[in-house]
């Protein structure tokens, strides 16, 4: 019913208009408070602010890469893929073993970079294959089942992936050598680690590549079409199953890449790190407008920034309240603007 109303250029009933007003007012107030907080921090200590912000943005890049997987899958089959965070965890563990044990690189030199490049390809394939298998054996059968069933299945998959991580990585966090050269450069008084710059140099092409894939290729067109109407897509000669599997594959590849970047920047892996990071990444996807690619990226960077500032900036709640801040953001957004920053009510998914 809602769709016909939108189609007729009808702005909505009085109640709907009031709702929109509440949403706008809420969004403006939240935005203003956020800006105020950031400005206050800048005035308090510009150097500390910049450093916290840069550290936050680095995490934000990883969140963005994971969030893409959530947003792609949600966009196409409307499923919150709870297992996605754990896939990222497996990616991180895989990268650690691949680089350190299987290839045997533990220093930042030419060979290290070669290992890194090889690992990036391998981990992306690894993530893609696992995600496709999950889709094939668990989610596909539940595509027409009630939402709750699919969600519970996702939780079950998440448990199994955590089990694999537990057996693979061990029950305690593990420290790994990193092969990305470390070091700092200074812009004024602000210290920026080379790691951050390199992560962005690696991560941003991935994001642009994905965007190109979805907007400019035939396969991307098929994805957008399937997300809008599966039956009509079938009639147009699109193989829906294949397209959904492809979506899972690229989502998994992004999670794998994020795992590698995380492992290289933090240097430790743990079997349960996927859960928290997955939730934060999902929050990012919702913040940006779920189903919207650039929304996930912006949401990820924004959440990373907020978290970084909260943890490191002079005026903030501190690291102990990190989760609370992130989830408070999630709740405020869902209450005032469920469609997210970039999402419109009639958003074009994927």
């Amino acid at each position: 019913m809602a769709k016909t109303v939108e189609g007729m250029q009808f702005k909505g009933t009085r109640g709907q208009i009031r709702k929109q007003k509440i949403e706008t007012t809420g969004a403006i107030i939240v935005g203003a408070l956020l800006t105020l907080w950031i400005i206050a921090n800048i005035i308090e200590s510009p150097v500390q602010f910049s450093q916290a912000a840069i550290a936050g943005l680095r995490n934000g890049l990883i969140y963005a890469l994971i969030a893409l997987g959530y947003t792609l899958v949600y966009g196409i089959i409307e499923l919150i893929n709870f297992a996605h965070g754990d896939l990222f965890m497996l990616g991180a563990v895989f990268s650690s073993f691949f680089i350190t044990y299987w290839i045997g690189a533990d220093q930042s030199n030419g060979f290290g970079w070669f290992a890194f490049g090889l690992c990036l390809v391998a981990v992306m394939i690894f993530g893609a294959v696992i995600n496709v298998l999950i889709e094939r054996f668990a989610y596909r059968k539940l595509r027409h089942a009630p939402r709750l069933s699919a969600l519970i299945t996702a939780v079950g998959i998440s448990f199994i992936l955590q089990f694999i991580g537990l057996k693979w990585n061990g029950s305690t966090p593990r420290q790994w050598p990193t092969i990305i050269p470390s070091g700092d450069i200074y812009i004024g008084e602000v210290r920026i680690s080379l790691l951050t710059i390199q992560l962005f140099l690696i991560g941003l092409p991935l994001l642009f590549g994905l965007n190109y894939l979805v907007t400019n290729t035939k396969q991307g067109k098929a994805m957008r079409s399937v997300s809008q109407d599966k039956d009509a897509s079938t009639l147009m000669g699109i193989n829906v199953n294949k397209t959904i599997a492809f979506t899972f594959a690229i989502g998994g590849a992004m999670a794998g890449a994020a795992g590698l970047l995380y492992q290289q920047s933090i240097g430790t892996t743990n079997y349960n790190l996927g859960f928290q990071l997955g939730l934060i990444a999902f929050t990012s996807a919702v913040l940006g407008g779920i189903g919207n690619l650039w929304g996930a990226v912006i949401g990820g960077l924004l959440i990373g920034l907020i978290q970084g500032l909260n943890d490191g900036a002079p005026i903030g709640f501190g690291q102990a309240w990190s989760q609370t801040v992130v989830f408070a953001v999630l709740i405020i957004i869902l209450v005032f603007k469920p469609a997210g920053i970039l999402g419109k009510v009639t958003t074009e998914k994927v």
Partner: protein, 395 residues
């Protein structure tokens, strides 16, 4: 015609459970209170019970039953997926911690408490704290429910998940909450007052009597659930669960109905929280994590959403496997075959597989509610078939 016979059957079966339930309760109570300490009991049986179902594990399972029954009202009846139920457990637990311990040592309030009047702290009678815990949770349930009213399934689950992460973290960091110590942080609140039960005060190790108490609390929740389910509110919940739009067209007040589900479900969480605090004799912040919320949802779903008996079975089985069963099975297996497999490390795999296989092959749970079974397989039927079947099931 179908309707009238159906109703009379339902009212009859609605009371039948009390007899069976009481007998089961009595058997369990006698076993654990009198048979287990009895010296004439053969050693084999004594060891068997202590190995497979020790009193502490049984009581803990019952706390899970109380919780799962509350969650069943939210998820099973009203169809609102709540992934943050552990928040109510935490709030209920801290109600016990605040009102029946020496935590507020600078105060000296004693209201029919079970400790001497001069001891510091707030000491309110256990039965009253039970009520307070339930009501505080009901209030928070409505508070958490309010922002979700406009949201649909997945988003709703996320908001509850958010609260389920925030509230435990507030308690976790509660040692310095804007300058106040509200929860003693990670150290937790150690020792809560014993339960005054007539002639005797029940401490942490009076498992038998506390078993009876927990069974009683669970029975209260079963009674509330069954009564509400048949009443006006319960039917409104089912209507909202199955088709929100149609329900509101038929005059069901969506807001009030949903908030009632959250409040009543949370009330049970409060009862369970207080009960659990007396069970472990303290409140510890790190216990309240997201895994418990998921675990409770799994209990409700596997047992059979909307069916009280299914939920009880689900809660019993899952908490037993998680707490004691797997470890006991592992030690027996290792002894028999001379292996040394760490079975408890397979918990994740076991739960994951069970969840997935159940969802793939028996979506409606072990003991399904007839209506829920239809709902879960509706997509496999065409329009006419599903209408026909719904008519047969009645209300």
């Amino acid at each position: 015609m179908v309707k009238s016979t159906g109703t009379s059957n339902l009212t009859r079966s609605n009371r039948n459970w009390i007899r069976g339930y009481s007998i089961a309760a009595l058997v369990m109570f006698i076993t654990y209170q009198y048979l287990l300490p009895w010296e004439g009991l053969p050693l084999g049986i004594y060891d068997g019970i202590n190995k497979w179902m020790p009193p502490a594990a049984l009581n803990e399972s019952l706390v899970y039953v109380i919780m799962a029954l509350g969650l069943n009202i939210i998820v099973g009846y009203a169809g609102l997926l709540d992934l943050g139920y552990v928040a109510f457990w935490a709030i209920g637990g801290y109600c016990a911690g605040w009102f029946m311990s020496e935590f507020f040592y600078f105060l000296n309030i004693n209201f029919f408490g079970s400790v001497p009047a001069e001891s510091p702290g707030i000491h309110i009678n256990f039965w009253l704290v039970l009520l307070i815990g339930g009501l505080v949770c009901a209030f928070f349930g409505a508070l958490i429910g309010a922002p979700t009213l406009r949201l649909k399934s997945d988003y709703l689950a996320l908001v509850t998940l958010g609260f389920g992460e925030i509230i435990p973290q507030v308690f976790f960091n509660g040692e310095d909450f804007f300058g106040f110590n509200i929860s003693n942080g990670t150290k937790g609140i150690v020792r809560v007052d014993p339960i005054p039960a007539g002639v005797k005060n029940l401490g942490p190790f009076d498992f038998g009597w506390k078993l009876l108490l927990f069974i009683f609390l669970a029975a209260v929740m079963v009674f509330i659930s069954l009564r509400l389910r048949r009443g006006r509110l319960g039917r409104a919940w089912l209507a909202v669960r199955e088709d929100e739009l149609a329900a509101s067209m038929m005059g069901v007040p969506l807001m009030r109905t949903k908030l009632a589900a959250y409040a009543i479900g949370a009330f049970s969480g409060g009862l369970g929280g207080v009960a659990f605090a007396t069970h472990v004799d303290g409140v510890y912040a790190e216990r309240f994590n997201f895994a418990i919320s998921i675990f409770l949802v799994a209990m409700v779903v596997l047992g059979g959403m909307g069916n009280v008996w299914g939920v009880i079975l689900g809660a019993f089985v899952l908490s037993w496997v998680n707490g004691n069963g797997l470890a006991a099975f592992g030690s027996v297996y290792n002894e028999t075959f001379g292996t040394s497999i760490d079975f408890t490390s397979f918990t994740f795999l076991l739960f994951g597989l069970v969840l997935i296989l159940m969802m793939l092959f028996k979506r409606e749970g072990f003991v399904p509610e007839s209506r829920m079974k239809l709902l879960m397989h509706e997509s496999e039927l065409d329009e006419e078939e599903s209408v026909e079947k719904k008519k047969k099931v009645g209300r």
